[in-house]
């Protein structure tokens, strides 16, 4: 495993971490890919570690680079797509007008 960070070895993402992240992203990775990504991800984290050494005490956390706030939409209905338009990119559609995907069981129903 090769790391080419300026301060190598600062980050220490383990193989198990990489596997967990791959699971959350629903990625099925091979042994080779897992090994390569462990190096690459640690390399990325090393870069952030360098950034983290900067003094940012007087800089507020920023999630946006444009200075706008309070953009609200009035609660008015506009037409939706037709069912055919909505389904036009579907991998498969059912006769009932649903998107069809392979069965996925027991996952998170977010809300």
């Amino acid at each position: 495993m090769v790391r080419s960070g300026i301060i190598p070895g600062m980050a220490n993402l383990t193989r198990a971490d990489v596997e967990h992240v791959a699971f959350l992203a629903r990625l099925g990775l091979t042994e080779d890919e897992l090994a390569r990504l462990e190096g690459q991800l640690n390399h990325i984290l090393d870069q952030y570690a360098i950034l983290a050494t900067l003094d940012t005490e007087h800089i507020p956390p920023t999630a946006q680079t444009i200075e706008v706030a309070n953009i609200l939409r009035e609660d008015a209905v506009r037409p939706s797509l037709t069912v055919d338009e909505a389904l036009s990119n579907a991998p498969e559609r059912s006769e009932s007008g649903h998107f069809v995907v392979p069965a996925i069981l027991g996952g998170e129903g977010g809300a």
Binding site: L24, A25, R26, P61, A63, Q64, I66, V68, A69, N70, I71, L72, R73, E74, D75, A76, V77, R78, S80, L81, T82, V83, A86, L87, N89, S94, S96, G97, H98, F99, V100, V101, P102, A103, I104, L105, G106, G107, E108, G109, G110, A111
Partner: protein, 498 residues
């Protein structure tokens, strides 16, 4: 110790204390979706007929915040006496599942719109207050249907069907502190919150169609111990009764598990109504697995004092205030006030009838709403309705002695079923009570003349004979005589001629 599920709650609560927190999702009553302008009237619609590039999560689209949805959460914040944020922000909750087309749900994590509220309600053991930790906005997910090979909808599916009409519907999530200790408190909290939602108009909060979803985090600990036990999340409770039963079951299940030397595992369990039990759904995901981060596509939101004041000013009278007012202003009992206030249709009927008729006695009116009206609504005849103006007219007739109580009930039942106006029913059925002394006197004289035996009995000391004579007058007037006046007139005449 018996462990029959039927005895749920009794055994466990002698040794363990339950610690319960409730999360409630309410679909907000807006015209358009949370982050796009699609119509929210999706009930019964063709699948995927209420979708646009935004709520389908297509690349290159951007969300825009629905002002009404924000206002409903702020209104809820005021209604639960909470703190409304001056600055709020949006976060991405990341997970991969086909019901969420973007791969993340836009929610609020670090800076919710509302924090630190509370809700007080009655229980069988007296008033109880639950602290509300937070209330925030988020978008709903699409609806998944799992099908097997033959197209049957089952849990062991071959393929999954997705309807994105629900995707992007505005949801408010309301989370309590773990203050609740019994299944009854949990149910009462959910009922009071549902009433509050309907009263302020934020949500119709119908549990059966998913407008209100209740989830409970349940753990138990030996009585006297400070540290919390391992909590289990319980979902799929589709009615208020299910909320109470599922939690009672879960408390008992955990107690039996621990008593048997086992341990409670952190998991999500579902309530199965037919078997009246909970079942394992999945291990609970850790919060950091959602990799929350600030939503870069949406600007933060600041709430100005003027905006907040305008929202607050629009709030109607809240249920707790109304219950107190009904007691102090109209002299209703605490119980009657609650019965009236806990049902919005009854409240509207009561308030409407009060406003409609001058001089309608409020207490008598309240009795009619909580008595006859609610009996009809719950009974076989349901499907009918009562008009406040008509109820006011009827109650006034009763109060004035112009119609007997028994006949008034018949009139009301007919009005409820057919919508006919009260005056027409009273007229058509000849129910107007004879309270005219002259007319009554004639009827009484005739009955006395026709029943000398009864008159003789009375004079011989048989006071009960009056009852028979009253009955004869009522019969002669086809029930229209004012019974109290008949009684008085009879006694007067019998005394006089003695």
């Amino acid at each position: 110790m018996t462990s029959a599920p039927a005895a749920a709650g009794t055994g466990a609560l002698a040794r363990y204390e339950a610690v319960i927190g409730i999360e409630i999702h309410c679909q907000l009553k807006t015209a358009s979706k949370m982050f796009c302008a699609c119509d929210t009237q999706i009930e019964g619609a063709e699948p995927n007929s209420h979708c646009c590039p935004v709520c389908l999560g297509l690349p290159g689209t951007l969300p825009t915040i629905n002002k009404s949805a924000v206002e409903w959460v702020i209104a809820t914040g005021f209604a639960i006496d909470g703190e409304v944020a001056t600055t709020t922000r949006w976060d991405r909750k990341n997970y991969f599942y086909p019901d969420i087309p973007k791969g993340y749900q836009i929610s609020q994590y670090q800076l919710p719109l509302v924090a630190n509220g509370k809700l007080t309600f009655d229980t069988s053991e007296g008033p109880f207050t639950v602290r509300v930790r937070r209330a925030h906005l988020e978008e709903d997910t699409g609806r998944l249907i799992h099908e097997d090979r033959d197209g049957r909808r089952v849990s062991l599916a071959r393929r999954s069907l997705i309807d994105f009409d629900r995707s992007g519907m505005p949801l408010m999530e309301i989370v309590t502190e773990p203050d609740i200790r019994t299944a009854e408190q949990a149910r009462r909290y959910a009922e009071e919150l549902r009433l509050l939602m309907r009263t302020i108009g934020a949500s119709d909060a119908e549990m059966e169609n998913g407008q209100m979803r209740v989830e409970a985090n349940v753990s138990i600990r030996p009585i006297g111990r400070e540290a919390f036990g391992t909590r289990v999340e319980v979902k799929n409770m589709n009615s208020m009764r299910a909320v109470e039963r599922a939690i009672a079951f879960e408390i008992e299940r955990q107690a039996e598990l621990i008593d048997g030397g086992g341990a409670v595992h952190m998991e999500t369990r579902g309530w199965d109504d037919p078997s009246q039990s909970t079942y394992h759904m999945r291990p609970k995901e850790e919060e950091n697995d959602y990799r929350y981060f600030p939503e870069p596509d949406l600007p933060p939101l600041t709430t100005t004092p003027e905006w907040l004041a305008a929202i607050k000013a629009r709030l109607p009278e809240l249920p707790a205030v109304r219950r107190t007012r009904y007691q102090t202003e109209f002299g209703l009992s605490g119980y009657d006030a609650s019965v009236l206030v806990n049902d919005l249709a009854s409240t509207a009927l009561f308030e409407g009838a009060l406003a409609a008729g001058e001089g309608v006695p409020a207490k008598l009116l309240a009795n009619w709403v909580t008595g006859e009206y609610m009996r009809l609504v719950k009974g076989e005849e349901s499907g009918g309705s009562a008009d406040p103006v008509q109820l006011a007219a009827l109650v006034k007739l009763v109060a004035d002695g112009a119609i007997s109580g028994t006949n008034a009930k018949e009139v009301f039942a007919e009005h409820f079923a057919t919508g006919r106006v009260v005056a027409a029913i009273v007229e058509a059925r000849g129910f107007r009570q004879i309270s005219d002394a002259g007319a009554l006197g004639t009827a009484v004289d005739e009955v006395l003349a026709a029943n000398p035996a009864a008159v003789a009995d009375y004079r011989a000391g048989k006071g009960a004979a009056v009852g028979f004579l009253v009955g004869q007058v009522m019969k002669a007037t086809r029930g229209q005589a004012n019974a109290a006046m008949v009684q008085t007139a009879l006694r007067e005449r019998l005394a006089k001629t003695e």
